[in-house]
Amino acid sequence: MSGFAAVLRKDLRLELRSGESTLALLALSMLVLVVLVFALDAARVRSLDAAAGALWVAMVFAGMLGANRALLAERDNSAIRGLLLSPLDPATLFAAKLAAALIFMAVAEVGAVILMVLFFNLDFDASLARLAPILALGAIGFSALATLLSAITGRTRGGDMLLPILAVPIFVPALIAGVKASAAALAGAPLASMGDWLKIMIAFDVLFVTAGYLLFEHVVGEDG
């Protein structure tokens, strides 16, 4: 799939060159966490539930920004038409955009986890290793959902505001599962004990990666 590699490499190259997306994502994650520290008054009390919740809030916001950016690159000079014209399969394009959004989100997540540990008085210990697969599952599902939806919202008048309105209710199950599993992981529970939550996240991921792959061709056209 040379098309997939070409598009992904192009997006990463564009991002490395300008760096504005990654910087914005990290800044946004940090600011969201700061707001939540004050809102939840987390400075005094060590609360794993608050930490897990704040982390996921930051991730959701960063994820939406990331997905938007991934498709924004194609707006200049109607570059998307160049892609649609080419032999590249729309489904492959989705996969490449998903991969790019995922990478952006992974970078933001690493930053957010570090900040979470610092702001919420946690430790850099083994519980973070258990957190990683949970965050990965969440990132995959959210990136798939947001990539699919931002192709839609990018071309409607609602634009930027419409994406969270559409994405958040749909993301709720993965959000619930993710926060619960994250809090449990931070408390030291083994991954085996969170089986049900993980199953929900996996089901969500499978649904949205598949749906995005199959349906992207319907949302990426330029028709009037």
């Binding site: 070409a6 192009k10 014209l85 056209g221």
Partner: protein, 233 residues
């Protein structure tokens, strides 16, 4: 008689309530060249976009390589090159990077070599490693031509290819068109007026208020055949 490479049947397109194309009947044979002349807003760009498979017609249908343009498989899209008013280029990538990217998308054997070759052909070799946002409109247009042609498509769709080009640029693009025709490609280009391209005969159509009419004598054009064109030859 060879099969038509482009064929439309009662093609129509509306944007909202405004008819942009009406009852368009067009036939272009393989290896032929055709110019479609018309003013602004006449429907030229829309027609090319439909033929490239980027837009669906509102009524009627268009066939390219015998395939309905609404459902063009990848192997047919590979053989179409479109040069439009927008360049489809990434401003933050260099000229070379842009061409290499498209070369990879079109699965060309040696992307780097193809990119270099075409940069040379359009006279942009010296600025190969400059980012496209720094290009003038004419340079971007030339790079866009390279992008459209680098996969050596069997069907070239060119929307006002000489717009924004100075004399040198126009010569370069004319040479590219000639080269494409010589290797057997079909060319369908739009313009406000017919330019002179030595050694190539073109059929001429006129599009006005969405209606397409032939101006040249023959309905189908074979390369090298005798036609009466607007140049009065």
């Amino acid at each position: 008689m060879s099969a038509p490479i482009v064929e439309t049947h009662s093609l129509a397109k509306t944007y909202g309530l405004a008819p942009v194309l009406r009852e368009v009947q067009l036939r272009v044979l393989a290896g032929a060249g055709a110019f479609i002349v018309g003013g602004n807003g006449a429907g030229k760009s829309t027609l090319l976009r439909i033929l490239a498979g980027l837009e669906a017609p509102s009524a009627g249908h268009a066939l390219v390589f015998g395939q309905d343009t609404r459902r063009l498989a990848a192997r047919y899209r590979r053989r179409i090159g479109l040069m439009a008013h927008q360049s489809f280029l990434y401003p933050n990538l260099t000229a070379r990077e842009n061409l290499e990217f498209f070369a990879e998308l079109y699965s060309l054997a040696d992307a780097r070599a193809s990119a270099n070759q075409w940069l040379g052909r359009v006279g942009l070799a010296e600025v190969a490693d400059t980012r496209v946002f720094a290009f003038s409109r004419g340079m971007e247009q030339r790079l866009s031509a390279a992008r459209a042609m680098l996969a050596e498509p069997a069907l070239l769709l060119l929307d006002e290819p000489f717009a924004s080009l100075d004399h040198d640029g126009a010569e370069i693009v004319a040479a590219l068109i000639r080269g494409a025709v010589e290797r057997g490609a079909s060319v369908l280009a739009t313009a406000h007026a017919i330019p002179e391209i030595d050694g190539v005969e073109f059929a001429v159509f006129e599009i006005s208020r969405g209606r397409l009419e032939q101006r040249a004598h023959t309905e189908e054009v074979r390369r090298g055949g005798r036609i009466r064109s607007l140049l009065g030859r």
